[in-house]
Subunit: 407 residues, 2 copies
């Protein structure tokens, strides 16, 4: 019997470990693999032969359950792009040599665009060299939700739930005073505004939600923004504004860069302020009212304690499905989620060719942004709502979450 | 029978509404009050006669339960200091006239230092004018935990639990890469470092927690800080640093102000960067390694979904106790928590003279900070640990928290 290797790559999410749990569960149930290894720090860890025995560290179902509620990549991650096959095959030869040494028959790589590029290249290499006893399969994850060929990505639903929950709480917080105040919240997303759109989910129980929502898919006009803010402040004293970190002006320059050429610190270095920070300065300058900026920062991708139960369950299912693909002899494919219905919410799991996914980006359809470019449409709400449903019961001990470490 | 008036003031917390719930519960159970009013926007709302009938908006126990899990001040807040009695009594006459108009016999004011100052002045005014049919009682709250005469303050435990939970999750997030990286997290607290100290609670289940913790009670030396960071980076690649927003240099100048005289934006205004931001710039400049700053910002005071069950329960008890003080004829007192034992954790509820509380600040005892000034002691851990115990089961509907609004 062959052995199984699992690795993780790209930015951390609250759901990526559930996919590992799914793979391990599927492999265990199949009775068709011998040892299960995890490579530490992704493909880089494979090249460095940094392996951990998952049969040992995940000794019982309790550990596997705990892994589902542990945020970030429990096997570590990396930002590492394999050389193009045209350029040099030496990295590939090294990897294959190591896979053979550990009798690996199945290698499942969990990650985003770059990771799928690795799966694509590695599987191509194997095919080119008639290596058919090692199957390379990808499993998707990214809070940015920008992978094509899958309805959504594991990690996104949990980040979206954190963002929606936080906007609910921020709205209560910002409404306590009766003086005009603007709170600008910056959400992750350089090129895709999915996460920023999720701020609108804070309206699901009747709250106002953000008065204005700006996604990076639409050109951002600061003058128009100031007009929007003035207009909204006439309706209520305290307003919330959601902006993507990647909003750009009509020249295509990031707002976070455009407005601060003059800003330098004592060392003469420019301040790399975020978009919300720049807009905060602008509102203070042009309107003079109370204004704050908030960055959800790393919390939005690692807040496992408020993860989406739907997201965690689907991430696990994707892991099981990815393993099935490998054990059925497929290679160069990625497990994907196909939505068959939004209401009631129904999905099926399928495999797609990984070369149709690698190095592409799925941004928000412009028709899901309102005409004014300062909110989202009902179609967007219909797409997002099912993804944050259900609460996880993460394990708390001594008043704080209990996590598992694998190495 | 007389009526009861409740108002809230100061900055929002995740627990302040539980005190309102406690007062309403205690009053209802006593059978000794007729109507229960809430003043909207604190003492300002009293002066403006902005009242809401709590008997109406809190019509059943379900509403009262929901109120306990709703963050921020459900009755609104204000930043309003009454004139000194020596200066002018007109505000006081106006307030008394309104209290009489609504047949108020008991006025309970929930808040921090300034709010207790209001309770103090108002009760003094009543005594000076032989008004003994209106009792004025204070109930404490502040995430800063800086009120004297009470072991701790409602709102602090929940903020501390959010901070500890977030540091647990940030540690997982920051450890995924194997390259040197510094993540500096800024925690609220201009003059008191209690919240920053709570970051150490992320160690309770065996995690490393922050490698360095700097409270605003100790003088902050940037050169020493850089040395500390270098030393810690030799032990592990990715380190977390917790800093109070109010850290000051030996001249007593806030680090957030000291380092950026040169930093101006395109409008020529200085960037009012936070302390973590300034330290991030400094590390980037002097060490050149990967560095990030994170501000927990408003989230740390309104994250009701991860509130401390101990905090919420005690906040409610304080409300019940504050009402008892009023109904027993006391005035000018504040309900307080006295800790009788830390292990096992035991508290009793007592009343203290509000003039012993008003306008004072309880900072962290220097002996609870380690000698190097970059961590906390076991005495601090013993004090903090009980305050974050227990998880609340806040109501989620449609995937987001359900909150109640009172006006």
């Amino acid at each position: 019997m062959k052995n199984l290797l699992i690795a993780q790559s790209g930015g951390p999410t609250a759901a990526i470990n559930a996919t590992v749990a799914g793979i391990v569960t599927g492999a265990g149930a199949s009775g068709k693999v011998d040892k299960i290894y995890g490579a530490v720090n992704g493909i880089k860890g494979v090249l460095e032969e940094k392996f951990v025995s998952l049969n040992t560290v995940l000794k019982d179902m309790g550990c596997i359950e705990l892994l589902c509620h542990t945020p970030a990549a429990a096997l570590g991650s990396c930002r590492f792009k394999l050389d193009s096959l045209e350029k040099s095959e030496s990295q590939y030869e090294k990897i294959l040599e190591i896979l053979r040494k550990y009798n690996i028959g199945y290698f499942i790589y969990i990650g985003g665009n770059d990771s799928m590029d690795t799966v694509d290249k590695l599987s191509k290499y194997c095919i080119m060299h008639d290596i058919d006893d090692i199957k390379i399969v990808g499993a998707p994850k990214t809070i940015d939700n920008d992978l094509v060929a899958t309805d959504h990505c594991p990690g996104f639903g949990s980040a979206a739930k954190y963002i929606a929950t936080t906007f609910c709480e921020l709205e209560r917080d910002c409404n306590v005073y009766d003086m005009p105040a603007v709170t600008i919240v910056e959400v992750m997303g350089r090129n895709a505004g999915w996460l920023t759109a999720a701020s609108a989910l804070s309206r699901l129980n009747g709250a106002d939600g953000p008065s204005l929502i700006y996604l990076c898919e639409r050109e951002f006009d600061i003058d128009r923004f100031i007009e929007d803010v003035k207009e909204k402040l006439e309706k209520k004293p305290a307003i919330l504004v959601a902006v993507s970190e990647g909003i750009k002006n009509k020249e295509g320059i990031y707002i976070s860069e455009s407005q601060q050429s003059g800003a330098v610190d004592v060392f003469g270095h420019s301040y790399i302020a975020g978009a919300a920070r720049v807009l905060e300065q602008t509102v203070r300058e042009r309107m003079g009212c109370k204004v704050r900026s908030v960055e959800l920062n790393l919390m939005q991708r690692c807040a496992a304690h408020v993860a989406s139960a739907t997201d965690i369950a689907e991430s696990k299912m994707l892991g099981i499905h990815a393993f099935q693909c490998a054990i059925e002899g497929m290679t160069g494919v990625m497990a994907a989620i196909i939505r068959t219905s939004s209401n009631p919410y129904e999905v099926i799991f399928r495999r797609v060719r990984v070369n149709s996914v690698a190095n592409q980006e799925k941004t928000v359809p412009l028709e899901w942004i309102n005409q004014e470019g300062n909110d989202v449409t009902s179609a967007m709400m219909e797409y997002l709502t099912p993804l944050i449903q259900g609460e996880v019961h993460s394990v708390f001990e001594n008043g704080i979450p209990k996590h598992i470490t694998l190495y």
